[in-house]
């Protein structure tokens, strides 16, 4: 509750919070199928119709309602983004804590594996994984999750290492606390703040990567709607039906903007070191 109040009293937090909130509602409506029209129904007589009262954002080449597809697409993109970031957060936190707590050899092994993953450009690594497993929603989730795991591992390991050397950890050990208790109670709880900021920013990257994969035809498969796919389909019709490009383009941009604004605000609020110079 306190954090919500803090977000809403922060300039960019307020804007980011509202954007993300609106998108969440739209995503849920899209996933539940509560769209103005069925997103895959083809209204053949109304092909490539410009936006009007019946089709708020026009129709595409097959006569499908763009607004409904946009809502379904936002639902799809958000599903992939949330699950992939959950995957990366969980995997990265476990690996980062293990590396920091077990130290020495384990630290070396885990961090070298992360170096290997980081040496791949994000989109190429995701592409490779998707080609191996075949395109689809779950593949996108796992691929994007793996791509962002090293970042979470690093975000967790650094602070966990310095927390491990702090007196209260020594004290807990002296009192006979078990390793798992110290790691979950003393380390993990102190990492919630940096993790929250990272999760918000990772949601923005994840939306971007999902849209990129779908744009290349390796994410969500037609006839299901996804923002990247809609944008890719719009390329050949750009001049006759610009609405096919403008609405999905804006939808992707504003969603990423929302998470970036929210992430920035959270960093200001949760990370006292950054407060000196808000960007």
């Amino acid at each position: 509750m306190r954090i919500l109040r803090a977000i809403f009293s922060h300039g960019s937090g307020r804007i980011g919070g509202v954007i993300v909130g609106v998108y969440l509602v739209v995503a849920i409506l899209g996933m539940l199928g509560l769209t103005p029209h069925n997103p895959i129904t083809q209204f053949r007589v109304d092909r490539l119709h410009a936006p009007n009262g019946a089709y708020w954002m026009g129709t595409d080449l097959f006569g499908r309602d763009v607004a409904s597809r946009l809502m379904a697409g936002i639902g799809q993109s958000f599903t992939v983004a949330f699950f992939s970031v959950a995957f990366a957060t969980l995997a990265g936190t476990v690996l980062g804590l293990a590396a920091a707590w077990l130290g020495r050899r384990w630290d070396g092994i885990v961090m070298r594996i992360m170096d290997v993953l980081l040496a791949f450009p994000a989109i190429l690594l995701a592409l490779l994984i998707v080609t191996v497993a075949g395109p689809g929603t779950w593949t996108s989730i796992v691929a994007i999750g793996i791509v962002y795991t090293p970042i979470f591992t690093r975000v967790v390991r650094g602070p966990a290492l310095s927390l491990k050397a702090r007196e209260f950890v020594d004290a807990a050990r002296t009192f006979g606390s078990s390793s798992s208790y110290i790691v979950t109670r003393h380390l993990l709880l102190n990492l919630v703040a940096p993790l929250t900021v990272q999760v918000t920013l990772a949601l923005a990257w994840s939306l971007l990567t999902e849209a990129g994969l779908s744009f290349l035809g390796l994410g969500t498969q037609p006839p299901a709607a996804s923002l990247g796919l809609m944008l890719s389909d719009s390329r050949n019709l750009m001049e006759t039906a610009p609405w096919l490009m403008i609405f999905p383009g804006l939808a992707i941009m504003i969603s990423i903007l929302g998470f970036n604004l929210l992430g920035d605000a959270l960093r200001d609020i949760l990370d006292p070191k950054m407060r000196r110079a808000p960007a």
Binding site: V116, L216, P242
Partner: protein, 319 residues
């Protein structure tokens, strides 16, 4: 020096990891490269022809023999033969690399030329309306995916001015510099826009950080002009985060910008890797991923060395 040696010593280890990962991954892609290369015509091959093709490309051997041969070849500067191009992998990569390098350099020039002045301007006008304006534009820039911007640029040009970006046969820089630039400027702007936004944000916050430091206040109180405070005293220290960010971003761009190359139909490294993955061109995927990872590591190392040049207080390798 010690640090440099230790960093260089980790290179083979990470590259070995990358090589194993990509070797295993590309072999897990369903389908085989000969069918992918020949399409439906692969069905016309006799078993003997298929076997001899497989032997020619070395894909008839067990995987560990293939891996061993590949690694052995790399040590002799031989990355294997590309199934799709029928030529040595290194030749194919080196043919595509100049475009990718040029695109990365151009994007970085745009990003630094726009981002740094904008960031410094915003920092020196902190909390004023102009600062807010710069911050809003930077935030929007950072949130605009390259493919959205790329399509918007193409749309604006074609719908507003009736022109299309220069596509067609790509002209290398040394053959036709003007045509080359006309082909690369829009992709570079597309990539440079978000990059510039990041540079703006980081240089603004780094500058603000430095401007509130004691030594800057001392310089001011001793009567140094505002210009000299910013350029002589503050900027060198504010450069460190900018160098880090630009270095990492540049390293990623050297891996090829798959989507932007796709939109502008540019024959760069990114599209080549995408096609190679889709074609199951094992040797080409392996070779190019290794090449990209190596470049990325070199750039990261250079960034670390640049810290030392910018801030003599930093001693690398000491924690």
């Amino acid at each position: 020096m010690n640090y440099l040696m230790r960093r260089l010593a980790t290179f083979p280890l990470v590259l070995l990891g990358v090589s194993i990962l990509v070797f295993v991954a590309i072999r897990m892609v369903p389908g085989d490269s000969i069918t992918a290369m020949l399409g439906t015509e692969a069905g016309l091959l006799t078993p003997a022809q298929r076997d001899s093709l497989a032997a020619y490309f070395g894909i008839d051997q067990p995987w560990f023999v293939q891996y061993w041969r590949w690694i052995g070849g790399i040590l002799h500067g031989n990355l294997g033969i590309s199934v799709t191009y029928g030529r040595p992998v290194l030749d194919v990569i080196l043919e595509r690399f100049p475009l990718t390098l040029e695109l990365a350099v151009l994007s970085m020039i745009i990003a630094l030329a726009v981002g740094m002045p904008a960031g410094i301007f915003a920092a020196t006008h902190n909390e004023k309306l102009s600062d807010l304006g710069v911050r809003i534009v930077a935030m929007i820039g950072q949130s605009t995916p390259s493919f959205v911007l790329g399509l918007l640029i193409i749309y604006t040009l074609s719908a507003g001015f009736g022109v299309l970006p220069a596509m067609g046969e790509f002209a290398p820089l040394w053959q036709d510099p003007l045509r080359n630039l006309s082909q690369l400027i829009l992709p570079a702007i597309t990539l440079g826009f978000a990059f510039a936004a990041s540079v703006t944000r980081i240089s603004r916050s780094a500058m603000l950080d430095v401007l509130s430091d004691d030594y800057v206040r001392t310089a001011r109180s001793k009567g140094a002009s505002a210009r000299s405070v910013i350029w002589r005293h503050a900027l060198p220290n504010a450069l460190i985060p900018v160098v880090t960010l630009s270095g990492i971003e540049f390293g990623y761009l050297l891996g090829g910008a798959v989507i932007v190359e796709q939109i502008y139909a540019l024959p760069g490294l990114g599209r080549m890797v995408l096609d190679a993955i889709l074609q199951r061109d094992y040797a080409l995927v392996q070779g190019s991923v290794l090449f990209i990872a190596f470049n990325f590591m070199i750039v990261n190392l250079l960034v670390d060395l640049a810290y030392v040049a910018l801030d003599p207080r930093i001693r690398l390798g000491e924690s």
